[in-house]
Amino acid sequence: MGISTEARKVQALYNSRRHFLRNCMSGLGGVTLSSYLGGNLWARDVPKPGISNPHFLPKAKHVIFLHMAGAPSQIELFDFKPELQKIDGQYCPPSLLEGKRFAFLSGNPKMLGPQSNFSQHGSSGAWVSDYLPKFAKVVDDVCFLKAMHTDEFNHAPAQFFMYSGSPRTGRPSMGSWVTYGLGTPNEDLPGFVVLISRGGPSSGKRLWSSGFLPTIHQGVQCRSKGEPVLNLENPPGVDDHLRRRSIDIINKINEAEYQEVQDPEILTRISQYELAYKMQTSVPDVMNIDAEPTYIKEMYGVKAGENTFANNCLLARRLVEKGVRFVQLYDRGWDSHGAGPGNGVGFGLRQSCQYVDQAMTALLTDLKQRGLLDETLLIWGGEFGRTPMMEARTGKGFLGRDHNSEAFTMWMAGAGIKKGFSYGVTDEIGFAGVENRVHVHDLQATILHELGLDHEKLTYRFQGRDYRLTDVHGHLIKDILI
């Protein structure tokens, strides 16, 4: 469109001048304007725009984070503990409980041995249980972090901690920090997309909030069922032709208004209406998994028209392929307390594993075969781990484990991360890390590093303070980088 191209040009000129004025006049300096989603999104009073360049050469262009909300048991999946099997059913030594806070454990609990069968896989010899048979075949592409730990032992605070570096609400999510820091390569799609299966995380939409960063950095929830993005579809009776015509007229009137009042903000609005129109086509396109060949759909195990984890994995690949910066998946159903059928580390956890095993393996394989894994960081994990102590609330034979902030396993793959590698060791019963422990802030620092961002320099001034994703902590995990 003539108008929009012109508007963009004028806008770009205006931006560079405004940028100059802002940074030189207010002395807040040091940052450049984000060209996020194409045109300029900033009305005149936005205090500090984003930065659009990495601090150093990035390894990853994209991130896909698979979050198993509720916290999967490391003891049944990756952290093989034969010693724990030996003391199965014995009372927990009180020394292990001293000074510890738990969500539910009380009194004197018994120890619970692993409920799955472990074997070693691949040339790296990684231990994976029979709960994840498909994933076991790709372990040579993966780096395990086995001594993860966090500060929080309840779901919501731990989830906030994982994504915002703080257990409280109000801070920006990791995906928001990343789009704030880097912008996004594809102007026609949101830079930070969230996909949900089985109900999503317990802490709700706040988890992908942009916090004090401007709302454009907020995660946009996309769905494979119903309207893919809120307000994306035209109202009844308005088809694409009418929408196109009305946007043309709206923009022409806005242009006339601009001629009269000379407010450059109008030009920004003109370009945003063009982008909105493009999103109306580009988002449904990318969300349409029917376009994939059958063998790919079978590889992931997708189900048309549903918000399944498998669909979301395939969508994640499509989104990354189209240039989306940060794709966040949440799958619910991993909180294995043993409070009832389907909620234990036996049958329940096995079911959840079956639900994700094929799709997450397919995602890794698919990214690899397309060469996308080299520029995409794939991360898998939960908000914390689970205790080696048994939780048996019902006394009815449903075996469960309580929350454990001291040890859990995550894995990463792709973009600059070592392959077939395992980092960190927990004690003999998998209760706490004893070697190469990785704190959540360290993980965050490392993710940003792979994207070319220095976690100490990616800051935003709010309430008189420069905030960071990693608060005042975080160390890069150098040992896992190639």
Partner: protein, 920 residues
């Protein structure tokens, strides 16, 4: 050998420098030296780090002895001052700033001269009270309406700018309506105003709008961001919170023009003013809007402390424009606040009795207007028929009267969820939190100081479908003491999905009665819950606890009185969480927390003001005194911060752009003298009356300018900080939705009341509390009444930059995004509004051009230009042509339906225009 010429040259240079030193004007620490120190020195010699025991934040530290035993600044001699020696040091390892380029020579010169002139220290301007002697300057520019214009025009003159011409009356009127009431004028209102030729028509309109009931709604929106008002509690559970009475209090406070000093004191300390009043107690809910955590396994004390810390930070941000969040961990990096200052301030707030418990006590209990009349009547009726010792006096609040009367007559029913304390693993059932569920084995609840004299039985109204669900034991003063009674809870009925679904019907509940050992006196009573023979996730639901006395007074009276008593007991109350001070004997001590962590308390502190304010008055010891000090003449900031907020609402940007930050990291005021003059005028002359202040702002000529830029204005004043034209800022999220509903005449203008469940909020049925307004008829109420869920806020509002209300936000950013375009283009409610406009114009006018002219006037308040009319006519005919091309058999252009569709597209376009979403 130095040549004579060179020697002479050196001599001259030295002479020049020396003369410069003698004759230079005095150097201002604030204007010239502090910025250098802030930029280059505070990182290592500030509030976070004071390397070498030197900090430039506080006068006493800057002039004190450093680690090396030397003094950094020796007034009068820059050569002897370490500060000077180190910035000019030849050795890069000793030169300051360390590991950095040396300071620019002109900065070094300034510092040297400042030291030589005596190194006079100044407080930052924000901590010095505004100058009361400022007189509005003279200006040659004509058209001054009030003193604001004198300041603004004089500043424009300095920059060789002229103000813009006055806005056309219809545009100005729309601006004024939106600013004062948040709603645009109707076509009739515009016509009436344009027809009023009498002098003072504009001022009369201002006065009319200031007295409109919608004034309070519009300004409450601003304040509710600061108050972080929401209808849920935050964190993971995000349970519902009934606190909408506070929102109505704010609306009423603006409407009744409550002076800002009273407005402030009541919200911060209304509970400490005697005698207590319902309104003043509800005002204290300001600080009960802090988030609280109902999640299992959390430590209530941790989250109580978190709330108190948040209240301190919020108080300083709202009234002082000062960010204190960083001071909880360490001294302020850039402003003169020591870490201790945070905790002495915290001590003012630390004695509030609320403690993050589930039922949000303390609460103010009240009844709706209809019930109030009936209850008063019943109490009066009973009171005249019972013994004098059993009567109630009418001085207390109605709820207390009812409770007292029921108690006096031995009718003692207690809601189980109103416990004073509980073990973990006790939860309240959603969405109303009106009974216990998730009662787990060996968990307990405690009621404080229960009168057990003459009590011989205790009943428990419970529900469960399990045969033997569990038992309840009763203990005094300690949950592990010997039980004084016990009762089994068995099957009361069956219903679907009993876990988490509360029994809807009364007959599903049964009362189980425990006989207790008689014990005299008042006791803290513990009820403990024990597993039965079946257990699935939880034991049973517990709704009420009933104390049975041996000979309750009610038995003396006949059936009629007892029936009245039952009726009296059955009225349910509304509740609002409030602030109440703990009694002296239970008051809490306040400690400095190491690095802000509540688990590591260090030194104990007493309540007091931050050091920078504390020079005169050390007698401020409680929250009420603190609140009064905030709005006293001793406080340098409150009035400035307040006038700046109102200014920003009216003119788009604050005189100080950083509304949340007036300290040394804040922006310099665009018009410092105007800020101070306004601050003094507001507190002294206007006696803190907010309406008078707003009136002053909107009756200025500055406000009435047209919002039209030209190349000169864009060059010299690109962001309109000098106010060389009218303000053109995007409307707030609330204003945008309200405006769409108003111009389409869908708006329901009802004032106040419970928060409303709009369909577009998509709140699941099971999450909607009984007190919320769910009526379909309320869907077009104003946006500020939307039921606000913190974890899932109103999507369209978030798209237009509303904060999520988790914490206090002074300053909404204004973005301009494609998501906003999608919202305005496609939102179903907004499209309904387009159809409503189309219907109206189709009905009222015959010709297309008249229809479009009318629509434009309804939407924009002014007349349409020919260009815009032509473009919209094209959209109309394109739409009709397209519809005919798509389905020629069904469509003819005389068809009303088709016309309506065409006009709907026109209206939809109007609601998407830039000029519609900005205040022009």
């Amino acid at each position: 050998m130095i040549s004579a010429e060179l020697r002479y040259g050196i001599f001259l240079a030295v002479l020049l420098v020396a003369c410069e030193g003698l004759h230079q004007e005095e150097i201002s620490f604030n204007n010239e030296i502090r910025p250098i120190l802030n930029k280059h020195c505070l990182r290592c010699h500030g509030g976070v780090r004071a390397n070498g025991n030197l900090s430039f934040l506080f006068e006493e530290d800057a002039f004190g002895e450093t680690e090396s035993g030397l003094q950094a600044i020796i007034p009068g001699s820059h050569r002897e001052s370490q500060l000077y020696q180190r910035i000019v040091h030849e050795d890069p390892e000793l030169r300051m700033p360390l590991d950095n380029k040396p300071l620019p020579p002109e900065d070094i010169k300034l510092i040297a001269r400042w030291i030589d002139q005596g190194a006079k220290w100044e407080k930052h301007w924000a901590y010095v009270p505004p100058d009361e002697s400022i007189v509005p300057p003279q200006t040659k520019i004509s058209g001054v309406e009030n003193p604001i214009d004198q300041f603004v025009f004089a500043r424009l003159e300095e920059s060789d700018l002229m103000p813009a011409p006055p806005a056309d009356p219809a545009t100005l009127m729309r601006r004024l309506y939106l600013d004062l009431t948040g709603l645009p004028p109707t076509v009739q209102q515009i016509d009436a105003f344009l027809a009023d030729d009498d002098p003072g028509a504009y001022e009369r309109l201002v006065d009319r709008l200031l007295s409109s009931a919608h004034f309070g709604e519009r300004w409450a929106s601003m304040w509710l961001d600061l108050a972080r008002y929401a209808d849920t509690k935050g964190y993971e559970k995000d349970s519902n919170r009934s606190i909408w009475k506070y929102r109505d209090w704010v609306i009423n406070a603006f409407n009744s023009d409550k002076p800002y000093d009273k407005f402030s004191i009541e919200q911060l300390a209304g509970d400490l003013i005697t005698p207590p009043s319902r309104d003043r107690l509800i005002a204290t809910a300001f600080h009960r809007n802090s988030i609280s955590n109902d999640e299992g396994g959390t430590d209530d004390e941790e989250f109580r402390v978190a709330s108190v810390i948040e209240r301190v930070a919020t108080t300083y941000e709202v009234w002082q424009g000062t960010t204190m969040a960083c001071v909880q961990c360490h001294s302020h990096p850039y402003d003169p606040f020591r870490q201790k200052d945070f905790y002495t301030s915290m001590a003012f707030f630390n004695n509030a009795s609320d403690s993050d418990i589930y039922n949000e006590q303390p609460k103010f209990y009240h009844f709706d207007d209809h019930d109030t009349l009936e209850i008063k009547e019943i109490i009066r009726w009973i009171n005249t028929r019972v013994d004098s010792t059993e009567r109630v006096d009418f001085n207390s609040f109605l709820y207390q009267q009812r409770e007292q009367l029921l108690y006096n007559l031995g009718h003692r029913v207690v809601e189980a969820e109103e416990f004073n304390q509980s073990s973990p693993l006790i939860e309240l059932i959603w969405p109303d939190l009106d009974m216990l569920w998730q009662v787990q084995d060996s968990s307990w609840i405690r009621f404080d100081r229960v009168d057990l004299n003459n009590v011989e039985q205790i009943g428990f109204r419970t529900a469960t479908p399990l045969d033997f669900a569990g038992s309840i034991s009763i203990h005094l003063d300690d949950p592990k003491s010997e039980k004084i009674g016990e009762v089994k809870v068995t099957k009361t009925g069956s219903w679907d999905r009993w876990q988490g679904t509360k029994p809807a019907k009364n007959h599903l509940f049964k009362e189980f009665i425990a006989r207790i050992k008689p014990v005299p006196g008042e006791h803290d009573v513990y009820f403990r819950f024990w597993i039965g023979d079946t257990y699935i996730q939880h034991l049973f639901y517990l709704d009420q606890i009933i104390y049975y006395e041996k000979q309750p007074a009610r038995h003396k009276y006949g059936r009629e009185l007892n029936e009245k008593l039952n009726a009296l007991s059955s009225f349910s109350s509304l509740t609002t969480p409030i602030i109440q001070e703990l009694p002296d004997e239970r008051s809490r001590e306040t400690f400095i927390y190491n690095r802000g962590s509540w688990l590591t308390p260090t030194a104990k502190v007493a309540a007091g003001l931050p050091g920078i304010f504390n020079e005169k008055d050390k007698s401020i010891e409680d929250r009420l005194a603190f609140a009064k000090w905030l709005v006293s003449t001793q406080n340098p900031l409150t009035s400035r911060v307040a006038v700046n907020r109102f200014w920003a609402q009216i003119f788009g940007t604050g005189l100080v752009e950083t509304m949340e930050e007036f300290g040394s990291q804040g922006a310099e005021p665009s018009h410092p003298e105007l800020l101070d003059w306004l601050a003094v005028h507001f507190s002294n002359d206007l006696k803190w009356r907010m309406k008078a202040l707003i009136r002053l702002l909107v009756t200025s000529a500055t406000y009435r300018q047209a919002a039209i830029a030209d190349s000169i204005k864009l060059e010299i004043d690109p962001e309109n900080r000098l106010l060389s034209r009218g303000t053109r800022t995007r409307l707030s999220a609330e204003q945008i939705r309200d405006q769409i509903l108003a111009v389409s005449d869908l708006l329901d203008r009802k004032l106040g009341g419970p928060s409303v469940i709009f369909p577009e909020l998509n709140i699941p049925e099971s999450n909607i509390p009984g007190w919320a307004d769910q009526s379909v008829n309320s869907r077009y109420r104003r946006t500020l009444y939307a039921f606000w869920v913190r974890t899932d806020p109103f999507p369209a509002m978030m798209t237009f930059d509303t904060p999520d209300r988790t914490i206090c936000v002074s300053h909404r950013v204004r973005t301009n995004t494609p998501m906003q375009a999608l919202n305005l283009l496609n939102d179903r409610t907004y499209f309904e509004a387009s159809t409503a406009i189309a219907n109206r114009i189709l009905h009222d006018e015959d010709e297309l051009s008249q229809q479009i002219e009318l629509a434009y006037r309804m939407v924009m308040g002014r007349s349409i230009t020919s260009t815009k009319l032509e473009l919209l006519s094209t959209l109309y005919s394109d739409t009709i042509n397209h519809l005919q091309a798509e389905t020629p058999e069904n469509v003819s252009d005389s068809d009303e339906e088709v016309k309506l569709k065409g006009l709907t597209m026109v209206a939809n376009a109007l609601l998407n225009l830039d000029e519609f979403v900005v205040k022009g």
